[in-house]
């Protein structure tokens, strides 16, 4: 369905774009129908940039992103199939308008009836009467986030880019939203779940892509990546997950472990860790 091939993003920075900064470097992976792929990485690793490039919000510098074999072209046609939900639900709504305004906007790309609108709001476990006609500041973060998913459902999309959608929610609301994503998967939607939270990625995803400084360091089925992390960075990430009643393990990258020519499993990619650390 969605396919990224050697995608890079180089930003021009400084006065008149004199300097460059590589945010994403040669990333390749696929997201299939009914599949949740989690894209894991620390802040600044380029994961949100990848999400924005898939959504056509940021231009690609090199490589290609295709959806059903055709290159991504931002526009009504593409946005009927692919949508995004972002991290901060409060920033997703124009504060001067009621939340109905957001649903109004998508009318031009896919007309819907009032019944369909209420149905999709109900399907994210909200009561239409309690949320429609309200200003964004009158609703909670969880409600707003679920309404964004309702918006995506109203469009009958096939791929959802979920960029850190639970990081601003409290624990109980978070699990509600995650279960919604599981429902979406059951409906046959593909989900790219961008997160820095390993446990959430583990909970949802079939496949995991670990990103570091814009480069994919390890990629494969979630259980393989989590149970048998090969790249020192993945090991370090997993060791950094806090556990109850367990002493902190200090797992620094243990030097060169894997080389690019030694791939343990064709389905489990791991980058060469001999790379020179940037200054």
């Amino acid at each position: 369905m969605l396919s990224l091939a050697d995608v890079s993003k180089v930003y021009r920075v400084g006065a008149f774009g004199g300097k460059t900064m590589t945010a994403v470097d040669g990333v390749t992976f696929d997201v299939d129908q009914g599949q949740v792929v989690s894209l894991i990485g620390e802040s600044g690793s380029g994961k949100s940039t990848i999400g924005r490039m898939i959504l056509g919000l940021t231009a690609i510098t090199k490589g290609s992103i295709t959806f059903d074999g055709a290159p991504v072209r931002p526009g009504a046609d593409y946005y009927r199939k692919v949508q995004g939900v972002f991290q901060d639900p409060f920033s997703c709504y124009n504060p001067v308008f009621k939340i109905d305004h957001m649903f109004q906007l998508i009318r031009q790309i896919r007309p819907y009836t009032q019944e369909k609108l209420e149905e999709s709001i109900s399907s994210v476990r909200l009561e239409p009467g309690q949320v429609l006609g309200k200003y964004p500041h009158q609703l909670s973060g969880g409600q707003l986030q679920r309404l964004l998913i309702a918006r995506a459902l109203l469009l009958d999309i096939r791929l959802l880019v979920a960029d850190e959608i639970t990081s601003m929610l409290d624990a109980s609301t978070r699990i509600d939203v995650l279960n919604l994503l599981v429902d979406l998967k059951a409906r046959g939607l593909g989900v790219l779940y961008i997160t820095h939270d390993l446990s959430l990625g583990n909970y949802l995803a079939e496949r995991t892509v670990v990103l570091r400084r814009g480069v994919v360091v390890e990629m494969g089925p979630t259980e393989k990546v989590f149970e048998d992390p090969l790249h020192p960075y993945t090991r370090q990430l997993l060791a950094a997950v806090p556990r109850l009643h367990a002493p902190w393990e200090d797992a620094r990258p243990a030097g060169c472990g894997v080389h690019s020519d030694v791939q343990p499993d064709p389905d489990h990619y791991v980058a060469c860790s001999c790379e020179k650390e940037p200054e």
Binding site: L57, P74, Y79, G84, Y93, V96, K98, M102, L105
Partner: protein, 295 residues
């Protein structure tokens, strides 16, 4: 559910209605606007009361203090000061509306485009803004005047518009920069909303109060600049304006001759219009900014 079905269409009207509710209860806004509207009415309907020629000479009526016949007295040449004041008010409002409108429009277009597009377009527009900002407007006007034989109100407004927009552009650009990074702009893009509509319907409503106030300030500022230009003799060659009246009063030594009725009405007119606009502006700030509302 019937109420819910009409809700989306009403969302924008409610915002406007709420602003109107507070606008009608704000003494500063109402007072300021009342003064401006009264002066505007005098400018528009004044000629009905007094249809004389503002330049008509009458040596028998020269240097008359205010009376029933000449409400604001007469000049050294017997011209009626009230007739001139009424005609001058019209010109002054014209310059304010044209010059202020032009300033606001140029500034907003450049500010929105630079702020929303960013990158190279922003660099170029920003450079243009800074260049115009440091132009010595008065010196440029002197040079322009040397080439243009006839100076009209329209030319004056055009000149004011072309030289005063940079501050508006800078402020609008900065605000647009901050708003365009908000996720609701991305969400509008994901709804295939065209750029022009994103700027006008998503970003601009968030700063509507500021834009409205900008126009008011540009209006007042334009009147002040026009008056200064008139006073130093760079005003329109034909017609009369409040600034030109002041210049004539000064030129013919009204102050030394004790002819206070010649310079006080135009001076007070300019002060009242600009002062009232500024008071209305403070009132508007309270209307649009919930934190400043006293009710």
């Amino acid at each position: 559910m019937t109420t819910l079905q009409t809700a989306p269409e009403k969302a924008e009207t409610v915002v406007r209605r709420e602003a109107l509710y507070f606008a009608f209860r704000n003494p500063k806004l109402l007072g300021g606007l009342a003064v401006v509207l009264i002066l505007l009415a005098v400018g528009i309907f004044g000629p009905i009361l007094d249809s004389g020629d503002p330049f008509a000479y009458s040596f028998t009526d020269a240097i008359q203090s205010p009376s029933g016949k000449h409400w604001f007295g007469t000049t050294t040449f017997g011209q009626d000061v009230f007739t001139q004041f009424v005609a001058g008010l019209r010109t002054t409002f014209e310059v304010g509306a044209l010059g202020g409108g032009l300033t606001a429009i140029i500034g907003m277009v450049i500010g929105f485009v630079a702020g929303y597009r960013g990158g190279m377009i922003d660099e170029i527009l920003n450079m243009l803004t800074n260049i115009v900002l440091v132009l010595p407007a008065l010196a440029v006007l002197l040079i322009v005047n040397a080439y243009l034989g006839v100076r009209s109100v329209g030319m004056q407004a055009l000149f004011i518009g072309l030289t005063s927009w940079p501050w508006v552009a800078r402020a609008v650009r900065a605000q647009t920069f901050s708003l365009r990074t908000r996720d609701f702009v991305d969400l509008a893009r994901l709804s295939a909303v065209p750029t022009r509509k994103i700027i006008l319907r998503e970003i601009a409503p968030n700063m509507s109060s500021y834009l409205f106030m900008t126009f008011i300030l540009c209006f007042g500022g334009s009147i002040l600049i026009a008056s200064s230009l008139d006073f130093i003799g760079l005003g329109p060659t034909q017609g009369v304006s409040l600034g030109l009246m002041l210049q004539n009063a000064h030129q013919w030594s009204a102050l030394t001759l004790g002819m206070w009725w010649w310079f006080i009405p135009p001076g007070a007119g300019i002060t009242l219009i600009v002062g009232a606009l500024y008071v209305a502006n403070v009132g508007l700030d309270e209307v649009f900014n919930p934190k400043l509302r006293e009710t």
